[in-house]
């Protein structure tokens, strides 16, 4: 019986390590069938990931205008670089509509994570322009 116990322990170890869902072992004296619910584990993993995602709090600066979003100044240098600190009231770019350029001012503090539009892309009302954290 001792041999059998060792065998079962071994199988449990393999099942866990190899991420298998089922193992069948058969010999003259012994027949072992083991099953593991992978879905349940997977669900647990997802829940963990979601929690991780929520820990990363992102904010978005949204457009209150309709037009083309520009974040390069007239000398061709970008007003926005990933990792920049963004402050409330800071001009993060311009929205150009019917020949009128309106500055877009940040209403939040944070660090620039991502620019969501390309220079000159169109935006409508409420569209997220940049992501900060």
């Amino acid at each position: 019986m001792e041999k059998e116990e060792i065998m079962i322990d071994e199988l449990i170890k393999i099942l866990a390590e190899k991420n298998l869902s089922e193992i069948n072992y058969e010999s003259k004296e012994l027949k072992i069938k083991m099953k593991k619910d992978l879905v349940q584990n997977l669900e647990e993993d997802i829940v963990l990931e979601e929690i991780k995602e929520e820990e990363q709090v992102f904010d978005y600066i949204k457009s209150t205008n309709i037009g083309r979003f520009y974040f390069f100044d007239k000398n061709g240098s970008s007003l926005l670089n990933i990792g920049d600190e963004i402050k409330v009231g800071q001009t993060i770019g311009y929205i150009s509509t019917v020949g009128i350029k309106t500055p877009v001012k940040s209403d939040k503090n944070g660090v620039l994570e991502e620019i969501l539009l390309k220079n000159g892309d169109t935006t409508d009302y409420g569209k997220s322009l940049i992501k900060i954290k």
Partner: protein, 446 residues
């Protein structure tokens, strides 16, 4: 024309998208944050969010609409009805931005939108109007004018008015004094213009209107008339074409008067002349609507024409390809406006989610609606669910068909005006055509 931006929402936005699709023209829907799940957003080729839920932040915000046209490279704008549809400034701004405005030229909108000017134009062109005054500067002068050549009762009207706002009846000097101030205050609040004038009040009139269509080359024809006498507090509920019980001679005279006035003002799109018809079948010009109307559908049913398509083609500069003789309406059409309203409690709007929605169908039934199962009627805008249009070879068949269609219509989750419409359709006086604008008040006490 390659791409039309529709500066509107609801059923009329969908109506315009349908016409554009048939003409192989692309469409752009604009929408407020409250309308992101609307059908017009899904049906158009492109959609642009133009602002917050309140109409002043979105559907009435001209810079945002023009910007939406710019980023989508739309070359034309259809204003629909309501919102900016009769705003001369908007029509002018569209032209400044090289956008084709699918509607009349802005001078027509401006002149006919001002009721006092419209009245003057009618008088100049021999179109009958009721006795009345110019803009009242002094109530004592108005009293004298009424005593000398008009006579009570009179209707006080806001010159910038519309939708029944700024209108009051006065039956004597005392009421004139009191109601004029009320009308002025209401007009000031609603239209930012307190000017009012007085017209002889026509007792128990019929509301009969003439649909006209004109091009940019001076051609104008009319597409027959509609009877819109079934109203509650100046809001139309049921519209029909042709008008029942209207002598052929009067029908012809009204049509000719409308065409005469439209030609004189160089009207170049679809428009409607509203008339009041008294008990002696004398008719009086009331006002002009320089836009497509909710009830254009009944005219489409009896003429077979697509008025929105005509508007689009004529805005591009096409010549009107038909003459008055080509227009031979046949049959009878009725439209019922189905609103999310509680008819048992003062027609109170009932915004909310439509949990079940099954539309009627079959021969002679048309539904123009932006609603679907799961759609939420927003509290920010009007409470219209849709329009049911029934066509029959005569009025009797059209009424029977409308009743059948309304009974088939299943809408759950909100109260609707369907039960009230069915009561009207069953009413003996309605069936006989004994209908004036006082019908709802007289028959239902509403």
């Amino acid at each position: 024309m390659k791409k039309i931006l529709i500066a509107n929402r609801g059923e009329i936005a969908i109506r315009i998208i349908r016409a554009a699709k048939e003409l192989d023209i692309k469409t752009v829907a604009v929408y407020s944050e409250a309308d992101k799940d609307s059908l017009h957003v899904q049906m158009a080729d492109e959609a642009v969010c133009i602002g917050g839920a309140s109409a002043t932040e979105s559907y009435l915000k001209i810079p945002n609409i023009i910007a939406a046209a710019e980023i989508t490279e739309a070359d034309a704008i259809h204003p629909g009805y309501g919102f900016l549809a009769e705003n001369a400034r908007f029509a002018k701004i569209c032209r400044i931005h090289n956008l084709i405005y699918i509607g009349p030229n802005h001078e027509c909108i401006k002149n006919m939108g001002d009721k006092a000017t419209a009245r003057e134009k009618a008088i100049e062109n021999n179109v009958p109007v009721t006795n009345g005054t110019g803009i009242i500067k002094n109530v004592e002068v108005a009293k004298k004018e009424i005593a000398e050549r008009i006579g009570y009762p009179v209707m006080i009207k806001a010159t910038a008015g519309g939708g029944g706002k700024g209108m009051r009846i006065a039956r004597n000097d005392k009421e004139l004094e009191k109601n004029m101030v009320a009308a002025q205050n209401e007009a000031e609040a609603a239209f930012n213009n307190p000017d009012v004038f007085v017209e002889k009040y026509v007792e128990n009139p019929k509301h009969v209107e003439i649909q006209i269509i004109g091009d940019k080359h001076g051609n104008v024809i009319h597409l027959g008339e509609r009877n819109c006498s079934i109203q509650r507090k100046n809001q139309k509920l049921i519209e029909e074409s042709p008008s029942f019980g209207l002598p052929e001679k009067i029908r012809q005279e009204m049509g000719e008067a409308a065409v005469r006035l439209a030609k004189a003002i160089k009207y170049d799109s679809a428009g409607t002349f509203e008339f009041l018809l008294d008990e002696n079948n004398d008719f009086y010009f009331m006002e002009m609507n320089t836009r497509i109307q909710v009830e254009h559908t009944v005219t489409e049913a009896v003429t077979g024409l697509d008025i929105i398509k005509l508007q689009i083609l004529l805005a591009e500069g096409d010549i009107l390809k038909m003459s008055q003789e080509d227009i031979v309406p046949y049959g009878h059409a009725i439209e019922c406006r189905i609103n999310a309203e509680d008819t048992e409690h003062g027609f109170l709007p009932c915004p909310g989610k439509i949990t079940k929605y099954i539309v009627p169908g079959g021969i002679g039934v048309r539904i123009d609606s932006h609603t679907y199962q799961g759609y939420e009627i927003s509290p920010y805008y009007d409470s219209m669910i849709g329009k049911v249009i029934a066509f029959g070879m005569d009025r009797e068949e059209a009424i029977a068909r409308m009743k059948r269609a309304l009974n088939e219509f299943i809408i759950e989750g909100v109260e609707t005006t369907i039960p009230f419409h069915l009561k009207v359709l069953e009413n003996e006086n309605y069936k006989k055509g004994n209908v004036t604008t006082a019908f709802i008040e007289k028959e239902f006490g509403l």
